[in-house]
């Protein structure tokens, strides 16, 4: 993947990446802040996400209501996301309307008001968002697993935060969080689309270069100690459906084992990509689908690997078939994993995984928003070069690499096994 990208760092530390794409009169802008739930100590869990919400509540230049109206009037798409490691805001606009988005992001990097009344109004909105999440059994299960997997590391809480903190966090807590992390030397700005680089750079300098850098933000340094043994947990809830989630320790995005694990995931649970837009494909020929869904032990199975700064989790999620027990399903997964630990996959399987990845990237490349996304996203845990070399690195994985990854990362002793099951459930099973 050869893509000419211009990289520049302003004197205040703001990193800028620009990529010209002239296939449509559209420009997509993404600004990334290196702050996420990993930066939240107990007492302010959910702060990064709440700050994201407050970014839509207005500045003196763009009061609340004016801001979203202005973007929507121009027919723009926009949204924001908070993750473990970062928070991002994007706008995709007709190319002759992009200046609004440029001004907006520069303005709210510095001038968000965090009006106390707005903070309190947003408190109930975020609690409502959390309640909506709680309605979902998989959120309940995921939250328990994440906290069981990370006793020490700040990855232990959900991005939305704990109810206790959502109720007690103050305006000053949030404003302090904002002023600490929303500084140009803690941010990456990326644009892709129908512009001319020199002119765009000139405009960005005009708008951003005068923003003062801040002190390097503090980071929590609390590495998770090694897990001493398998952890199992149960969540009892309503409904008739049982879910099983297995969470294994995963390597970081920068670790040489990331690509073998990515191939491992492809073989076990089907290919997935880290694209923000573009969609995926089915996983019916994957090993776990064959062993579980085709054998009527599960009605669905999925796997997921994240690109993170610190080691996070590789998760397998399964919806149990009513005719199968939890033990039988887990035993089947263990059998498949053991098969891969004992015998490396074939070259053909690896070639297949590569082709699948190539197709998924091709689908993602249709969207200018997705291309702009990758410019900044990869910079959060590596550099854009990581994205450029993704397919090459994937293709370099050998069958022995995959076998070794299965042996290293998929040991039961290193996992958290979580089961969501209906209250008063009766175990039904085959003989």
């Amino acid at each position: 993947m050869e893509d000419p990208v211009t990289r520049i760092q302003l004197s205040n530390g703001l990193q800028i990446l620009l990529k010209e794409i002239h296939t449509a009169p559209i420009i997509s802008q993404w600004i990334w802040y290196r702050v996420g739930s990993r930066d939240e100590a107990t007492g302010i869990t959910g702060a990064s996400h709440w700050v994201e919400h407050m970014q839509f509540k207005g500045t003196p230049g763009f009061p609340a209501g004016i801001l979203d109206r202005a973007i929507s009037r121009e027919g723009g798409n926009w949204n924001a996301f908070t993750f473990l490691d970062w928070t991002t805001y994007y706008e995709t606009m007709p190319s002759d309307k992009i200046d609004l988005a440029i001004q907006l992001e520069a303005d709210r990097m510095v001038n968000s008001l965090f009006d106390p009344e707005e903070v309190n109004s947003e408190r109930t909105v975020i609690i409502s968002e959390r309640q909506g999440n709680e309605n979902d059994p998989l959120f309940q299960l995921g939250e328990e697993i994440q906290s069981a997997a990370f006793r020490v590391h700040p990855y232990h809480h959900e991005i939305i935060g704990d109810q206790a903190d959502l109720e007690t966090m103050t305006r000053d807590d949030l404003y302090h969080h904002y002023r600490t992390y929303y500084i140009p030397n803690n941010a990456v700005l990326a644009l892709a689309g129908d512009f001319e680089t020199n002119l765009m750079l000139e405009r960005l300098r005009e708008v951003y270069e005068s923003i003062q850098p801040g002190p390097q933000p503090p980071r929590l340094f609390r590495p998770e100690p090694g897990q001493p043994g398998e952890r199992t947990l149960f969540v009892e809830g309503t409904g008739e459906t049982t879910y099983i989630q297995l969470a294994y320790r995963a390597p970081t995005a920068n670790h040489p084992d990331f690509f073998p694990c990515s191939v491992l995931d492809s073989l076990l649970a089907g290919p997935s990509s880290l694209n923000m837009f573009g969609g995926g494909i089915s996983n019916k020929t994957s090993r776990l689908y064959q062993a579980l869904v085709e054998k009527e032990r599960a009605v669905s199975i999925n796997g997921g690997l994240q690109a993170t700064i610190d080691p996070f989790l590789y998760t397998l999620l399964l919806t149990l078939h009513p005719g199968c027990t939890v033990e039988q399903a887990v035993a089947s997964i263990d059998d498949e994993i053991k098969r891969l630990q004992d015998t490396p996959p074939t070259e053909e399987e690896l070639w297949r995984a590569s082709k699948q990845a190539r197709a998924l990237f091709a689908y993602g490349s249709e969207s200018i928003s997705n291309q702009a996304f990758w410019l900044g996203y990869a910079e959060m845990y590596a550099t854009y070069d990581w994205f450029i070399r993704y397919l090459e690195n994937l293709q370099a994985v050998t069958p022995q690499d995959v076998q070794r990854a299965a042996q290293t990362y998929l040991r039961p002793q290193g996992r958290v096994l979580g089961v969501y099951q209906p209250k008063d459930h009766q175990e039904e099973g085959q003989e």
């Binding site: 009037r73 059994p137 494909i281 200018i368």
Partner: protein, 443 residues
Amino acid sequence: MMAKASFTRFSFSHCRSRAGVPADSHSLPGPDDTLRRTLSNGITVLARSNFNSPSVVISGYLPAGSLFDPDGRLGLADFTASALMRGTARRNFQEIYDALESVGASLGIHGGTHSAGFGGRALAEDLDMLLSLLGEILRQPAFPQDHIERLRAQFLTGLAIRAQDTGEMASLAFDQIVYKNHPYSRPEDGYPETLQAIRREDMLEFHRAHYGPRGFVITVVGAVDPQEAVNKVGQILGDWDNPSQPDNSALPPAPALTATVQEKVTIPGKSQSDIIMGAIGPQRSAPDYLAASLGNSVFGQFGMYGRIGDVVREQAGLAYYAYSSLSGGLGPGPWYVSAGVDPANVERTVDLIHRELERFVREPVSKEELDDSKENYIGRLPLSLESNAGVAGALINLERYGLGLDYYRRYPAMISAISVQDVFEAARHYLNPERLGIAVAGP
């Protein structure tokens, strides 16, 4: 205002489009870049090329939806559609998915209300494989029994999950209120009892009766020459015939509520309740459809979800999501407000929404509000057509509702012409605050 001034000063200098042609005609499909052909058996093919991407998307539908489900076999259309992918006369399930997944391609088909819809995607070099597979699953399905049972278990689990989902259950209850005794009250995915009752013979019969070229539409968008795309479709489906296919059946008239009806679906153990309230809106072909759609934008979509979002979320802080939705199709779709709230705040939220509805039909929206939404509708068109899938969806839309290939070129003028009075009359035509369906699902 300061922000506005600096914006207009610089809006053009660095952003002059280099795409080669003026923005409008480059992005928006029209008769000059979209090929439309009808095959001798009635199949309509639409094709548009995009060589900026190495992939290709196919998408389409045929009249084989849940309208044709017998009451005791609700879910049959969707079950049949899903079962097509499970084996054909030439290939079994493994072989079908191996062909797809080995090259990173996808293909799926599912049952909707009026029609069964299909979609697929592949790198351009695999288009022949994709089309060939599509032809095979449509024309020669094997309906293998073991896979039918596997699908049944998956669907039943899906229904068990649905029964716990406050949004889905509120939606079901709402449909049953406003579409009482009308086919739209019936869910396409059926009920556990009806799914249990479906047999292989039912699917064979459904396929025999409804799958054929009449009313069949397919679009092909991506790195392929349009004429070549039409030829390929012709090779695979051009000789397909099925005299059994029925003529289009007419829908009965939509029922009218004589008073507000409110229902509660109790789902224990939930942290949030879902509210859906509204009425029956226009069908796509209604003369006031665009006026109603713009009205809906003002009411509950524009920006952070219009007036509803402003009142329920921004001002009262009651909900993370609160918006309104209008979706007219071949028949009259629902026009409703949706919100997810703390169970203790349900009545307060229903009141707030009710007051906004009263305001919406008591006085016209302001010109400023309407202009905002118009600008949004016109401005967002190129963005919705950025990807092959976006274009394919747009072409399907044109064909399904007979809008004409030049629709997107005419669209900005049509939108601009709609007046505040048009919107007001459309709102009053469909929404009566004293005759609403209100469905709540929660603890």
